[in-house]
C-alpha cells in the first residue's frame, strides 16, 4: 500500500546561529510523524533550494531571526520556481513585523509563524495544507 508521509526540509538561511527553535521544531515534526531533513544554520537560498529538490520534500520550513527574511525567504521561493519546483510549499518563522507579512505572502510564502505560535498550530497547518507527493 502506498505511504503518505510528509517530508519537510528545515533550514536556517543567512547569518543567524540561533537554532534552538529550529531544533525544537525538528523534534516536533518527527513526533508528528513527518520525515524531517534538518540542515541547520548559515545556508544560502541556493543551498536550500537545491537540497529541497534533491530530497523531494513537500514543504520547506525557513527560520530566520536576524531580520533578513524580506530578502532570504523570497529568494528561496524564486529559486524553487526557476527550477520548476513551485509545488514545494515554503513556510517561514521568525521575528517578522506585521508590515512585512503581505510582501512575503505575495512572494509565495504559504504560511508565517511568529513568536507565540504554538507547536501544535504549526503541525496542524501542515497536516491541513500539505499533500504528500503533490
Amino acid at each position: 500500500m502506498a505511504s503518505d508521509k510528509i517530508r519537510i526540509l528545515l533550514a536556517k538561511p543567512g547569518l543567524d546561529g540561533h537554532d534552538r527553535g529550529a531544533k525544537v521544531l525538528a523534534r516536533t515534526f518527527r513526533d508528528a510523524g513527518f520525515e524531517v531533513i534538518y540542515t541547520g544554520c548559515h545556508q544560502t537560498p541556493e543551498m536550500i533550494a537545491a537540497a529541497a529538490i534533491q530530497e523531494d520534500v513537500d514543504v520547506v520550513g525557513l527560520s530566520c531571526l536576524s531580520g533578513a527574511h524580506n530578502y532570504l525567504y523570497p529568494a528561496v521561493t524564486k529559486l524553487l520556481q526557476e527550477h520548476g519546483a513551485e509545488d514545494i510549499s515554503v513556510i517561514g518563522g521568525g521575528i517578522i513585523p506585521d508590515k512585512d507579512m503581505q510582501g512575503l505572502y505575495d512572494a509565495g510564502l504559504k504560511a508565517l509563524f511568529t513568536p507565540g505560535a504554538t507547536l501544535d498550530s504549526i503541525v496542524e497547518w501542515i497536516n491541513a495544507n500539505i499533500t504528500p507527493r503533490k
Binding site: 502506498a2 505511504s3 518527527r30 508528528a32 520525515e35 540542515t39 507527493r133
Partner: protein, 321 residues
C-alpha cells in the same frame, strides 16, 4: 512530458528524487519505472559506509565526496537514518554534514528513513542505487544508519564496504565477533588520535591476521584523525579514497564483481517476491477481516501460528503443491 524514468536517465534531478520518493512510498507506478530502468543499471561503483552511531560516517562521507570530486568523478549519496518506532516520523540529519556540496551539480544527496526495515538500511536503498546509477553517477555512497553488531544488509548492495570504528567501544573479543567485523573490505579507525586509537589498530590488525582471505584481498586499515585538523583529515580520506579504488580494481581484475552482484540480485528478487506475494496476501487477509480473526484465535489459544500459516498457504498457494 517524458516519463520520470526517461528524465532520470538524462540526469534530471527532480525526476530522480521523485522516483526515489515513489519507491519509498511504494506507489504503484514505481514498478513500471523500475522495469524501464533495470536493464540500464550496473555501471556505478557502490560504496557502503557503516559503523556505530556517531562514529563519523557522515563527516567521512562529506570529505570522501571532496576526494572523489578531485578525481573528476560524480557522486550520489543515499544516507539512511532511523524511523521512530512510535510515531513513524524521522529526523534525517546526515545531510547537515554535507552542506558544502549542496550547489555542486556533480553531487546528489538523498536522505532516507528506515521506515521499519531492519538491517541498517531502508527498503528503498536497492532501487535508489539503481536510480543514481542511471543518472550517471560514477560512485554511489550508501551510508547506513548507526549500526550495532548485526545490521549487515549493506553487503547485499555495495561493491566495497567500509566499516568505521572508533576507539573506546570494547576489547579484542569484540574485534573477533561475527557480524559487522566480518563484512569490511576496508576498515577506518576514525578519531584515531583519541585514547585507545593505537590499541584499536592493533586489535583490528590481529583479528585480520587470524583470518584468511579467499578472494585475495586483505582489508586495509585506514587511520583517520580528528576532523578538527582539516589538513591531515583530508589527507587520510584521500588515502581512503585510493583504497576504495584499489578495492574496486581488485574486484574487476580478479573477476569478482559477479560475486557481489549476485548478492544484490538475490536480495532484489527476494524483496520483489515478498512484495508481489506476501504483501498482497497479507493485504487481502487484513481487508477481509481474516487477519483479525486469526489474531483472536491465537490470543485465545484456539489455534497456533503454524496451523494458521498452513491454512493460508493452502488457500493462496495452489501451484506450489
Amino acid at each position: 512530458m517524458k516519463d520520470l524514468s526517461s528524465r532520470a536517465m538524462e540526469g534530471d534531478v527532480r525526476a530522480a528524487s521523485r522516483l526515489i520518493r515513489n519507491i519509498e512510498d511504494n506507489v504503484p507506478e514505481m514498478a513500471t519505472a523500475m522495469k524501464h530502468i533495470f536493464p540500464h543499471t550496473g555501471k556505478a561503483h557502490v560504496i557502503g559506509i557503516t559503523g556505530a552511531p556517531g562514529a563519523g560516517k557522515s563527516t567521512l562521507t562529506d570529505e570522501l565526496i571532496v576526494a572523489i570530486r578531485k578525481k573528476q568523478q560524480t557522486v550520489g549519496v543515499l544516507a539512511v537514518d532511523p524511523t521512530s518506532p512510535f510515531t513513524g516520523g524521522a529526523l534525517l540529519g546526515d545531510r547537515i554534514r554535507m552542506l558544502r556540496h549542496a550547489c555542486d551539480e556533480g553531487v546528489f544527496v538523498r536522505s532516507l528513513a528506515t521506515r521499519g526495515a531492519m538491517g541498517g538500511l531502508s527498503k528503498a536503498v536497492g532501487d535508489g542505487i539503481h536510480i543514481l546509477d542511471v543518472m550517471g553517477k560514477d560512485k554511489i555512497i550508501v551510508e547506513t544508519v548507526g549500526v550495532g553488531q548485526q545490521e549487515v544488509d549493506i553487503i547485499n548492495h555495495a561493491h566495497t564496504v567500509i566499516v568505521v570504528l572508533v576507539p573506546g567501544m570494547g576489547d579484542d573479543v569484540q574485534a573477533i565477533k561475527a557480524g559487522l567485523m566480518e563484512i569490511a573490505d576496508i576498515f577506518v579507525i576514525n578519531k584515531a588520535d583519541r585514547d585507545g586509537g593505537k590499541k584499536l589498530y592493533k586489535e583490528t590488525k590481529n583479528m585480520l591476521e587470524m583470518g584468511h582471505f579467499e578472494d585475495g584481498w586483505e582489508p586495509p586499515i585506514v587511520m583517520v584523525e580528528s576532523v578538527l585538523q582539516p589538513h591531515t583529515f583530508a589527507e587520510s580520506v584521500c588515502e581512503l579514497c585510493d583504497q576504495i579504488d584499489a578495492h574496486y580494481k581488485h574486484l574487476v581484475d580478479k573477476n569478482l564483481l559477479a560475486s557481489r552482484f549476485i548478492r544484490k540480485v538475490t536480495t532484489e528478487l527476494n524483496d520483489s517476491l515478498h512484495m508481489a506475494i506476501f504483501d498482497k496476501v497479507v493485504e487481502t487477509l487484513v481487508n477481509t477481516g481474516e487477519w483479525d480473526k486469526m489474531l483472536g484465535l491465537l490470543m485465545r489459544k484456539e489455534s497456533d501460528p503454524y496451523t494458521l500459516a498452513e491454512g493460508v498457504a493452502e488457500k493462496f498457494l495452489k501451484a506450489v503443491k
